[in-house]
């Protein structure tokens, strides 16, 4: 493997890493509701769903 091949592999690995991070991991890391109203609605429907189950 020469340096050109090395850099091609590095670029592909970085791209793969970015896609995995931003498409699969990052959306799960983002925090949910920031306001009380959002939290209220979210909590309410969560509790309701549990109750229905």
């Amino acid at each position: 493997m020469n340096w050109v091949d090395f850099w091609v592999v590095v670029i592909v690995v970085i791209l793969v890493g970015l896609v995995i991070f931003f498409h699969y991991i990052f959306p799960h890391l983002r925090k949910g509701p920031s306001t009380k109203a959002k939290r209220l609605v979210k909590d309410y429907f969560k509790a309701k769903k549990k109750e229905e189950k």
């Binding site: 050109v4 091609v8 429907f45």
Partner: protein, 699 residues
């Protein structure tokens, strides 16, 4: 801290359009009932102090479907600070029934009288001041579509200048007296009594949800009233509400006699019992002709040229090297010229670029398909087809409401499966969820478009139409089987309003086409990109990680892909598919098919990476492992059928698991779909095999 404002109204009253107008968001809007199946939230323009919650459409606060339960729970238990009750001005009587219930809640209500523009065209005039007086609520005339009255509505909400505590005189004296009596006896500590006026009416009606509030003395008095009226309590309340609403309508609105409307004239054609289905088939044929064979395919050639180059296009545009040669070959040559190895150039050119581009090539066809379907939906035509098909579906045990998830499923199965929540009957809902993936979704279009245009160049659109019709036939047969074996209850009726035909709103059509296209491109750039890299590794390396790909970038015959990791996996499975592939032993076709489980677009992408050829050559080039498909149209058709009717992608499977509520049901559905796919493709494949003399080719 933000206050919560709820947006509540009948189905198809324009809630989501108003939601978008008030928040500046782009939620999906449709000209049929039931577009909103989950609540949505957004801030009302002008600050982050008012959060608007869009809810699924309801006709009353007595819920029947699961999405109606969401709205009822929101109104009764989430205690919003304000409710905007959107009412359809062209259907005042039906809309006001819900208003009479909302006015009994402890929450403030503002009425948004929507569709003011259509109302005038239909010869209806409503005196909103009189309506406000009759209801004791603030009424604001708006048109969510044109934006008329939206600023007034926002100002009223922000400045809180709306009327409060309405005192409607809905019920007859004796009924009202009993309701007041119940209200006086309510145990205010109970959660159910937080809306006392509404709760006392519900106790009177004997609503099971309010059972805890009733007592024996109430029961005796209600029975006495029932005897006097000769009907049950629930009916008494409904009758009283309708009488009130009729009175309000008579006092506030006036309808000029109008000549036969365009909608009536068009309905005579599109809902004609003999012409409706043939017209639907012609319209869908035209949609596929435009998207697969005509406009879409012309544009697709250009996209393919950008990625992979094109000799035809290079003659026309010989001064644009990028278009002549294509991105893949340019990058491949560049890596070689820098001194890189063939495998590195092959990874970029024949792995990543070929894999991703094979899916992107179909974007123009998808845009045309999305555009056509969106125009049909927006015009109100699809709703009529749902209404008409209900009569046919009902005979086979399916509800006409199932057609809505099926139509949505032509874009993507996931929202289609979720849309099954609009079906009330649990059996019919489950059947709809299980059957929606049979409808060809947009991700399956690349498979149809690739093979139909190559194998049947002059009748590509006809192939697309035939698989669509075949999908409907399979759905009907499956429904009969399911109904006979598992779901034996009687089918329910489909009650839906038919909205007027209207010119689709350009903004909504644009949003819908844009959202779906962006989501498709996102998948190509993420899932397909990752799969292309994985498939390239699996096809270019053996288990001992020895490179078995081409040693000459321009001669793929120098590759020994049959000793790759993917080949060894596919070779065992390929035996199973010999009947389906018409007697051909093809591990390449088998592994491409199996990858459709990750994403259906991946089937075409995998074929491109395995063959190392672009979409125009992967079947037609004699060096391609898929070349046999070009001389065996039946096998190509069998391949299309297997991929269309087998288990859907992982995303759709996850949605099915969630909606069916059990892994057992999911696996039985997957098995059922695989049986169908394998059965149909094997029948077609066996016919082809028999015609070719029953010899196994390629072993």
């Amino acid at each position: 801290m933000a206050n919560i404002v709820g947006l509540v109204g009948n189905q198809n009253a324009g809630k989501t359009t108003l939601f978008n107008a008030l928040t500046g968001m782009n939620a999906t809007v449709g000209n049929w009932p039931g577009v909103t199946i989950e609540r949505k939230e957004g801030y009302i323009k002008g600050g982050k102090d008012l959060m608007l919650v869009d809810t699924p459409g309801v006709y009353s606060l007595s819920p029947y479907t699961s999405e109606e339960k969401v709205t009822r729970s929101f109104c009764l238990e989430a205690h919003p600070d304000l409710i905007i009750n959107i009412i359809d001005a062209t259907a005042l009587e039906r809309s006001l029934y819900l208003t009479t219930q909302l006015a009994e809640l402890s929450t403030d209500v503002v009425v948004a009288l929507n569709m003011a523009d259509i109302m005038e065209k239909n010869g209806i005039s409503i005196d909103e001041n009189k309506l406000s007086e009759e209801l004791g609520l603030t009424v604001i005339r708006i048109s969510a579509k044109t934006g008329e009255g939206i600023n007034t509505l926002i100002d009223t909400i922000r400045k809180k200048t709306y009327l409060k505590n309405p005192h409607l005189k809905i019920y007859a004296k004796d009924v009202q007296k009993e309701i007041d009596h119940i209200e006086g006896d309510l145990n205010s500590e109970l959660e159910e009594a937080r809306n006392p006026k509404f709760a006392s009416v519900k106790v009177f009606e004997r609503d099971p949800f309010y059972k805890a509030l009733s007592n024996s003395s109430t029961e005796d008095e209600v029975k006495a009233i029932e005897k006097e009226y000769g009907m049950d309590a629930e009916q008494i309340i409904a009758d009283e509400r309708y009488d009130f609403v009729t009175g309000v309508k008579a006092a506030c609105s006036y309808e000029r006699p109008m000549p036969e409307s365009v909608t009536d004239k068009l309905d005579k054609i599109f809902l004609n019992k003999y012409a409706a289905i043939p017209l639907f088939i012609i319209i869908m044929g035209l949609v596929y002709f435009l998207s697969v064979s005509f406009i879409g395919s012309i544009c697709s050639d250009f996209i393919n040229a950008i990625f992979n180059g094109s000799e035809t296009i290079s003659i026309l545009y010989n001064d644009i090297p990028f278009v002549c040669k294509g991105l893949g070959p340019i990058l491949g040559d560049w890596i070689l010229s820098l001194g890189g190895d063939v495998w590195a150039a092959d990874m970029i050119e024949n792995g990543i670029v070929a894999g991703v581009s094979s899916v992107c090539t179909f974007i123009p066809q998808l845009i045309v398909l999305f555009l056509c379907l969106s125009l049909l939906e927006g015009s109100g035509y699809m709703n009529r087809i749902a209404f008409f098909i209900d009569q046919i579906f009902k005979k086979f045990g399916l509800s006409g409401k199932s057609i809505i998830p099926f139509i949505v499923g032509t874009g993507c199965s996931v929202p289609g499966i979720m849309g099954a929540r609009t079906v009330e009957d649990p059996d019919e809902r489950e059947m709809t969820i299980r059957l929606t993936p049979f409808i060809p979704c947009s991700a399956k279009l690349p498979i149809i478009a690739l093979l139909s245009s190559i194998v049947f160049p002059k009748a590509g659109w006809l192939v697309s139409l035939s698989v669509y019709v075949l999908a409907i036939v399979i759905i009907i047969i499956s429904a009969i089987i399911m109904k006979k074996l598992f779901y034996k209850r009687e089918s329910t009726s489909f009650i839906s309003e038919l909205p007027s035909y209207k010119l689709p709103d350009a903004k909504n059509v644009y949003r819908e086409v844009k959202d779906k296209t962006v989501s498709f491109i996102e998948r190509a750039g993420t899932v397909i990109f990752l799969c292309s890299v994985a498939v390239w590794i699996l096809t270019r390396f053996s288990w001992s990680f020895e490179y078995v790909g081409p040693t000459d970038l321009y001669d793929l015959g120098t590759a020994n892909i049959s000793s790759s990791m993917l080949a060894s996996i596919g070779k065992g499975l390929a035996y199973l598919f010999i009947p389906a592939w018409g007697g051909y032993y093809s591990w390449e076709l088998t592994v491409s098919t199996i990858q459709g489980l990750i994403a259906k677009e991946q089937v075409v992408s995998s074929m491109s990476v395995i063959s190392g050829l672009d979409v125009n050559q992967m079947v037609s080039a004699s060096s391609s492992p898929f070349y046999f498909l070009s001389s065996n149209p039946l096998v190509a058709y069998s391949f299309i059928c297997f991929n269309l009717f087998s288990a859907p992608c992982f995303g759709a499977l996850a949605a099915m698991r969630k909606e069916l509520g059990s892994a057992k049901k999911l696996f039985s559905t997957i098995g059922f779909e695989l049986l169908w796919a394998y059965g149909i493709s094997s029948i077609i494949g066996l016919i082809s095999w028999g015609m070719n003399g029953w010899a196994v080719i390629g072993l």
